[in-house]
Symmetry: C3
Subunit: 315 residues, 3 copies
Amino acid sequence: MTTSLAGRDIISLSRLGNGQIKKIFDLARDFRRMFDRCHALPPLMAEKVLALIFDQPSTRTYGSTGIAMVRLGGLLAPPFIAASVASSLAKGETFEDMGSSLSEMTVDVIAMRHKKVGSAQRLANGASIPVINCGDGTGKHPTQALLDVFTASRSIGILDSCTVTLLGDLKNGRTVHENGPLFGRFGVQRFFLVSPPLLAMPKRIVTQMERHGTTIIQTQDLEAALKESDLVYATRIQREYFESEEEYDAVRGSYVVDAALLQRTNPNVKVMHPLPRVDELATDIDKLPNALYWEQMRNGVFVRAAILALITGAI
Amino acid sequence: MTTSLAGRDIISLSRLGNGQIKKIFDLARDFRRMFDRCHALPPLMAEKVLALIFDQPSTRTYGSTGIAMVRLGGLLAPPFIAASVASSLAKGETFEDMGSSLSEMTVDVIAMRHKKVGSAQRLANGASIPVINCGDGTGKHPTQALLDVFTASRSIGILDSCTVTLLGDLKNGRTVHENGPLFGRFGVQRFFLVSPPLLAMPKRIVTQMERHGTTIIQTQDLEAALKESDLVYATRIQREYFESEEEYDAVRGSYVVDAALLQRTNPNVKVMHPLPRVDELATDIDKLPNALYWEQMRNGVFVRAAILALITGAI
Amino acid sequence: MTTSLAGRDIISLSRLGNGQIKKIFDLARDFRRMFDRCHALPPLMAEKVLALIFDQPSTRTYGSTGIAMVRLGGLLAPPFIAASVASSLAKGETFEDMGSSLSEMTVDVIAMRHKKVGSAQRLANGASIPVINCGDGTGKHPTQALLDVFTASRSIGILDSCTVTLLGDLKNGRTVHENGPLFGRFGVQRFFLVSPPLLAMPKRIVTQMERHGTTIIQTQDLEAALKESDLVYATRIQREYFESEEEYDAVRGSYVVDAALLQRTNPNVKVMHPLPRVDELATDIDKLPNALYWEQMRNGVFVRAAILALITGAI
């Protein structure tokens, strides 16, 4: 199997081989090292145009994909923001036609977030250029998973003998549906899945995670899980999935990660979070060495830069 | 009459001479040839700034104007999107003041789409820099007409002895109001105007089209028209102009251009459409040599690049 | 006290020394001179990224900050427009977290307008990079005040013995709350504050303005004030603060600055306005030498360019 990524869409991680992912990580690592040293990236994307199509609120994915592009010397088409009201999608244009249209308009690569599951694949079906899925509703968000695993392995080193706790809304969070299996592929030995019963990880994702011989332990006991974990990956619990305010408040209170909890259970555990946070992740961790979420955002720029450079064949 | 375009607004085609239009087409042709060969345009717009003001949904016009600018090495002001709510137009600023303001802010050229008829002219009245009308409601959309005629003549060659069918909503479609007369100026000999009676071409446009000795035939018989046409230009039929769902469905069904229709009537007829389409243009034509609508989008970048370079005096 | 601005936030003018402000003005003057001569600025911001976060309608501040950046060779992150619905602020992210996030995402400087008073300070608290407050609701708008005083002193010369009339809604207008005290610091000798009683300048701002020995005269007699003024700074009177349409119309009519008024009272008085205007400033002044509001907009680009270059340490 070739590891070349030129011309490839990044729609779902299940279609990327480990060799391809390592290629992305290697380039991201080089980009980061270069940037940390001289606050610049090489102008690999000169004369290339990225179109951003974003339908849903986004700070990190939208911002860092665009920043990666301009830091590589690339060009941005004027952004399609609130795309379902402000682009021709509002007039009933199909995703396929939008993909074809942008391809004809000399765009070199598209990054799209849209609330419809499958939208990025449909866009890619119409496009003759590579498409990056930046989140298709409750579907996939592959670049987030890539930057998560990149960050974990960069900070912790070999993930082979690690234990990871995934925490929060494991039912609806597209992030953990992608990075859970990816952590599994990269050797994580054991997972604690900690969530309210209502928000448990779907069976099909658990199955994917078990594929590599990984042990999966589903529990509601966060403290016990943390004691045996190298890493905890926290996500937001969303109010709208609860029937009453009381139920929500009870659950929410029991899944707050703060400095006291770390002190009590495992002062060395690393803490990740895709952000934005509401109150499931306390700010008193922000300056501790446990916090990896700042690194996640920083690495997001370099992982996305690597993806852009590789799929457009710029490198 | 001078053919220089430096400093000229592009508000309506009636104010452009044939020499000026040919100048735009010649440069667009050069740009396209250069880009097809080396995937780059010359940096003619270095140090020049384009402001995009877009009030209404747009993929192609907004995207390709911006892409043309950055491919020419030009700079984009941050875009004014949903301008009637997110710029000072929302506080009651006049178009004239917005034109003056952007001129003072060192902008070199403005491209605006706004739903108010006459808005681009008013902006241009206030501005000391050239303004491109990218669609003013039911008014004009000159760059679309230019890229349409450019595409037809590039694909078909001399238009002098051609027959063109304009199809769909000929009453409300600003596209056919501009490109109809322009096809006439460029020598088209005969037009079939095919539309439901409710959506017939306005008399004043027919008069403009007849000015060059062109024959105009108004009919509802699409098949007969196609049999004698070199080119059919299809447009969307908009539901909101019909009194009942039944009426709409009846009309809509009889104006669908698909591969079977072409096969039955005229396998050589070229098919154009400004896109987006709903279902009046079937996707089974997409890969046939008849389809010119992909070419329209591609040429849109180069026609707009030519306009930008010429009206700013960059060339 | 050091006059260096590298790394400084521009949140409120009260925290900038006169030496620092003069440094901004000197550089803005150089930039303007250079641009007037060769239509270009030096590429001081190469490899630097600006993030624009704009929640409220804006043409001038948003546009000219972005234009300043690209004219200096800097890069724009894709803009965060309508940020309270289209960025993670919509998911409950705090301003502090947004500041931290953009800092990690390798952004070099942020310019934000948001309707919440104090929002820019909170963003800056989270950020490790400089933040420019482009208006925080009824709070501060320091770059507007800087360009106002820069424009006045560039056109009038030494402000020491000047009399300035501030006109309109002095209660709610954040512009006059910032530029009033700044005019005072730069030596203006006497102010007429002309407003309907309902919209009088708040006591705390009057106190700030008096600090430098300035004489403050509150009046409703615009004609008398103009007769003794070198400069009148007009602002919009907003309908929503009046109880009845009649009250509003009465007030509004008595505060219109037009050519006849200038002729009648003081043909030499300079006229400033932050724009947008509704009808308190007549267009018959637009071409007169009295009008400084075009200069304000033009200088806005260069004052903001100077701020960007200084706070990022590019110069």
